[in-house]
């Protein structure tokens, strides 16, 4: 527990930018860079990557100590997991199941992320949205996804 080593938002952001910038630059060099008169597809990416590194450095350099605030983010693992899980469920059941299971699963899983939602509420919501989705997107707009399909 070393409290003296507090990091600010700007420092994290700056470091992320520098890492990304380095990645982009290295990637850019793997394409044909070329010269100003005959630019290859790597030219602009390299420029952008280098600029990102510079800006990232500038953000770290100019961050003010006195404006640092404690980063207090209470992790919402359940919420985060359920929201991303909801999207993943749509992809999964969209591939192996069709619109009905995909809609039902994604709404149900996403709704479970809120601590106040009881299972009964979530089920009702999922059914309602599924009915609406099938009517509007399935029949109304002719979405290119089978309502129900195996595999």
């Amino acid at each position: 527990m070393n409290r003296a080593w507090r990091v600010s938002r700007d420092q994290i952001g700056g470091v992320l930018l520098i890492l990304l910038g380095v990645g982009v630059t290295v990637g850019g060099f793997s394409f044909h860079v070329g010269t100003l008169s005959e630019m290859g597809s790597g030219f602009i990416p390299v420029v952008l990557g280098v600029l990102m590194v510079l800006i990232g450095g500038a953000i770290i350099a100019t961050e003010k100590k006195e404006e640092r605030e404690e980063i207090r983010i209470q992790p919402q693992w359940r919420g985060w997991f359920c929201i991303l899980g909801g999207v993943a469920a749509f992809v999964l059941f969209g591939t192996y199941g069709g619109l009905i299971p995909a809609t039902f699963a994604s709404v149900l899983i996403a709704a479970l992320g809120d601590k106040q939602n009881r299972l009964r509420d979530c089920l009702i919501l999922a059914v309602l949205v599924t009915v609406f989705g099938v009517v509007v997107f399935g029949y109304g707009l002719g979405l290119q996804m089978p309502l129900l399909a195996w595999g």
């Binding site: 938002r9 597809s41 990416p45 953000i59 996403a110």
Partner: protein, 530 residues
């Protein structure tokens, strides 16, 4: 020239009033308003969510519908800001300052009525400016070569990055990130796959809809889950309350004019977002007011001026978007992207090649605004009830709409996966307080910027000085340079001030008082933290 524009406008009305087009326009206003009024659904989220609906219809009705969605969602956002103190679209943050106190005084209906009046007036002025300025700009734009196009896009990006709220460095960083995202995919010049990591799905580049819905939709869910607890207050607004009294109209008439003027002025500058425009309109109104202490406690002028500014600004913003193909802010970038998806390339040739779209769109702006008034007066009760839908039921349903919407654009579940990735990226940006909308601007402008730069350098044999020796290009570049210099100057000054402040305690607060703008920013962040 003028007579010509009026004839063209008449043609536009004949396009927009065709029953089929009118129906889609009405439908757009209705759903835009419906979704926009829901808590947490800003104009950006609403448009990106409803964008896929337009894939099913022809280009002309599609763009008319999008404009309708845009209007509806903007006005819907104002309803939430005034009645519940919930700005779902950043420009409305200022509207909350006086709009919500008015609601607490039981004058919420009046505030909504004034908002409607101001938005209609300001939009009308913006449309007139657009009608007469666009053909003029087009005649200049035909002289633009790749160098000029590159410079004006660069100016748009620099302005967008530095003039928005928050640190300009962060804005630039996010613009760069957007530019990099725009590079992903097949390079149109050489056919090289760039940053696709060997995935065939990424060779067409990142999907604009997926990017926006991740950044504005999923990211918002991730950062507000189990955190927003809205108390459903029963605010009742009846139709009769929406009609402001003569005194109130008189009181807000001049602020409306000033707001419209400020909005028009800023609209002409690509890149300056609507948020900063509303802040300036509010600060200005308070500065010239005889009793500025009324502001923040329910002054009708504090609603009228920023709302007028935001509407005329967005209207005028359509000029560079449609005539040059250069969007002024994230919303415009999204609309531009939608046009390109429909196979319409905005630019100087748009007016001559697709007069039905250009003039039809302008006519539909007016029709959209009239529809908005007609729709909102009787529907206000319904909107108020919608405002009380709890977030915990809203976000799972919205998540489904996002997923199905992204899927419908290319029937690709891979792109639905992209949404989740950008959701996480957006949530990280929000947590680190990096602005998200410059990413979209960079993403849309990036490929055009690269193409024009490469073309310009090819034409001039790699001679960079051509960018400064051609007069139009030089003008745009010097404006960009001035914007950056101004930021550097402001930074150095604040550094000196804060080092003095450390010595003499209160100096910092004194300095903040100086600029009325800083005050407004503080007031907004204070109100939001409540």
């Amino acid at each position: 020239m003028m007579g010509h524009s009026i004839v063209d406008l008449m043609y536009g009305f004949s396009v927009a009033l065709q029953p089929g087009n009118l129906m889609w326009s009405f439908f757009g206003v209705l759903v835009g308003n419906l979704i926009g009024v829901l808590p947490g659904m800003g104009a950006l989220t609403t448009i990106s969510m409803l964008l896929p609906l337009t894939y099913f219809i022809a280009p002309v009705p599609a763009i008319l519908m999008l404009a309708g969605i845009f209007y509806g969602s903007q006005y819907g956002g104002a309803i939430g800001a005034i009645l519940l103190n919930l700005p779902s679209h950043p420009p409305h943050a200022v509207t909350c300052l006086d709009g919500y106190p008015l609601t607490q005084k039981g004058k919420g209906g009046t505030a909504l009525g004034i908002t409607m009046m101001c938005s209609f007036f300001a939009a009308s002025v913006g449309i007139l400016v657009m009608i007469f300025l666009s053909p003029l700009l087009v005649s200049v734009a035909f002289k633009f070569g790749p160098s000029e196009l590159f410079s004006i896009m660069l100016m748009g990006l620099v302005a967008g990055a530095t003039m928005s709220r928050g640190s300009p460095l962060k804005g630039i960083a996010m613009t760069l990130f957007g530019l990099v995202l725009g590079v992903v995919g097949t390079d149109p010049t050489s056919g090289t796959m760039r940053y696709t990591f060997g995935s065939a799905e990424l060779s067409d580049g990142i999907d604009l809809g997926a990017l926006c819905m991740g950044l504005f939709g999923i990211a918002d869910f991730l950062s507000s889950i189990n955190r927003v607890h809205m108390q459903a207050r029963t605010t009742r607004v009846r139709m009769s309350e929406m009609r402001p009294s003569w005194a109130e109209i008189k009181q807000s008439f001049k602020p409306m004019l000033r707001g419209t003027f400020i909005g028009t002025l800023f609209g002409a500058m690509p890149g300056t977002g609507p948020t900063i425009t509303t802040f300036i309109a509010y600060a200005f109104e308070r500065k010239i007011s005889r009793n500025p202490e009324r502001f923040g406690k329910g002054a009708i002028e504090g609603v009228a001026a920023p709302e007028a500014a935001s509407h005329s600004k967005t209207q005028v913003d359509f000029i560079p978007t449609m005539t040059l193909g250069i969007p002024g802010d994230a919303v415009m970038a999204l609309l531009l992207g939608a046009l390109i998806i429909k196979g319409v390339q905005p630019g100087p040739q748009l007016i001559t090649e697709h007069p039905d779209i250009f003039w039809g769109l302008i006519a539909s702006f007016w029709i959209g605004n009239v529809l908005l008034v007609i729709l909102n007066v009787p529907m206000i009760g319904v909107w108020v009830r919608l405002l009380q839908v709890p977030y915990r039921f809203l976000y799972p349903a919205a998540l489904f709409f996002i997923a199905v919407g992204v899927y419908s654009s290319h029937n690709s579940l891979f792109e639905v996966g992209e949404v989740a990735v950008f959701g996480v990226i957006g949530a990280i940006c929000l947590a680190l307080k990096f602005p998200v909308s410059p990413i979209v601007l960079g993403f849309v402008l990036g490929p055009m910027l690269e193409q024009n730069f490469r073309r310009a350098m090819l034409l001039e044999r790699g001679d960079l000085t051509t960018l400064v020796t051609r007069p139009i290009s030089a003008a745009f570049l010097s404006i960009s340079a001035l914007l950056i210099l101004f930021q550097v100057f402001a930074f150095v000054r604040s550094r000196i001030a804060s080092s003095r402040a450390r010595k003499s305690g209160k100096a910092q607060q004194e300095k903040n008082r100086e600029s009325g703008l800083q005050d407004v920013v503080d007031a907004v962040s204070r109100q939001q933290s409540h």
